[in-house]
Amino acid sequence: MTGNIVTGAAEAGDTGTGAARAGYSADEIMTVTASRALRDRTTCFVGIGRPSEAANLARATHAPNLVLIYESGTIGAKPGWLPLSIGDGILAETADAVVSVPEIFNYWLQPGRIDVGFLGAAQIDRFANINTTVIGADYAEPKVRLPGAGGAPEIAGSCREVIVIVRQTRRTFVERVDFVTSVGFGDGPGSREYLGLTGAGPRKIITDLGVLEPDPATCELVLTAVYPGVSVPQVRERTGWDLQVSPGLAEIEPPSPSELAVLRGLLATMPAAGGAP
């Protein structure tokens, strides 16, 4: 359930990117791009929703030996379809090991054994801090009450690196999150070390427009790649801070027919088909 976000779904990202005309949706290229960021023979702590879609797509395409770990304690789950929750029976039945919840966090996540933490977000800021708790400045009187932390704070702290997948809007990509649920780079360079966070933090933020990555010197998220048909002004328009653009800005390969076919096949297995969050 980590980072499974429930608001803002109305701002679906199929507008203005030209993706739909190319035979795939903005959500599809986002999920495919996220799946490509996962390397074979690595271990991935998977949040439910879009992270789970992308991780299962990776396992079904270029990364058959990707080890999927869900916070329900299922290690090495190999679901044949997309689970709706992190505790669906298919995860336990196909896992290499099923351990208790204290064990998954204390023995497996906390010591830094897991390569990639894969999270969603309701809000993310220029230093890649994540909010999944409340929208609004006053915690006690929130404008929107979100699900909360789940496993995310410790996943963001202890995995060797973190990948975030989230639709990009001005309300989502903010100068400063209303509430720090999970730390990206805190206030900037040196924050993670000061806070004693052992993992390296976010490596890629994958959106429905392209990819942002932290600048190695400033830790600020900069635009490093866009999808075909997406312009830099479009991305800046949907970012709540003065977004910088990498000099080496790349264009991402569109989804291949086989990637699309596998992804659509996975999504068709969800209850209320297409009902992924």
Binding site: M1, V6, Q110, A149, G157
Partner: protein, 271 residues
């Protein structure tokens, strides 16, 4: 020593107004029948503790059973918001709901401390997050050996923990398997406990990875076949994902939710 009684008796004996109640089960083996029984018995002013409140506590919060919720993730898994939970937090309906929120790792360790008879547990967690400044029961601690700064979380000691398991034997020994979550720790941390079970058998058949709770560590055992629905019990039932999707519409407004309570919990058709 475990007493085998009816579900209604078990809940009436174990859960009283104002109690701190943990009903655990991490997506799997959620004690829904027991939750509906708490609603039927009209309990009030409960402090409800659970890592993932999800649909079971959405129902109890909407029915007005709770005054406080201690939790780490409050959503409908894979579906969206918990509308009764949000209505209580955002509009104090039907009664105000105080929140104490944690991370999963924090909650899990709080149960471990409770089960271990320790006042707190230690983890690498919460550092730099807003949670530490908004929730009680989280504090910085310095390791006496290395000088590292770590996080201490206070033990959870519920008045009563309620779980669902696949099997008990006639003496009240309990066995659960599949995703076993934090149930062992939650039962051992509590002063009283209730275990609802799919089946009472003559002899527990050992299962790989099972958690076994000896009868002397359990308070009440009650037979409740299908008692995890819409959650599931591995090898007995499958998760009713369609119900979780349907709950979104049932819970979205107060009137529809009220009809559901009348028809499916308090009414004739209720178990």
């Amino acid at each position: 020593m475990a007493e085998i009684v009816s579900l209604a008796e078990a809940m009436a004996e174990a859960v009283h107004d104002g109690d701190t109640v943990a009903m655990e089960g991490f997506t799997h083996l959620i004690p829904h029948a027991a939750g509906r029984e708490v609603i039927r018995q009209g309990r009030r002013e409960l402090t409800l503790v659970r890592m993932t409140p999800d649909v079971i506590y959405d129902q109890m919060v909407g029915a007005g059973c709770a005054r406080k919720l201690v939790f780490s993730w409050g959503g409908n898994p894979g579906v969206g918001s918990l509308h009764r939970f949000r209505d209580a937090v955002e509009h104090s309906w039907p009664v105000p709901l105080e929140l104490e929120e944690h991370s999963h790792a924090g909650m899990a360790n709080r149960y471990v401390a409770g089960a271990s008879g320790l006042p707190f547990a230690v983890l690498r967690g919460y550092s730099g997050t807003g949670l530490a400044s908004h929730a009680a029961n989280i504090a910085e601690i310095t390791c006496p050996f290395t000088g590292d700064t770590l996080t201490a979380v206070a033990a959870l000691r519920p008045d009563v923990t309620v779980i669902h398991a696949q099997q008990a034997d006639r003496a009240g020994n309990v066995q659960l398997w599949g995703i076993t979550g934090v149930q062992k720790e939650a039962v051992l941390a509590a002063a009283r406990s209730v275990v609802t079970v799919e089946e009472i058998v003559d002899v527990l058949d050992p299962r790989p990875g099972a958690v076994v709770l000896p009868a002397w560590a359990v308070g009440y055992v009650a037979l409740a076949p299908g008692g995890a629905h819409p959650s599931y019990a591995l090898d007995y039932s499958v998760r009713d994902n369609d119900f979780y999707v349907a709950w979104d519409a049932i819970s979205r407004d107060r009137e529809t939710f009220g009809r559901w309570l009348d028809d499916c919990v308090r009414g004739e058709g209720a178990r």
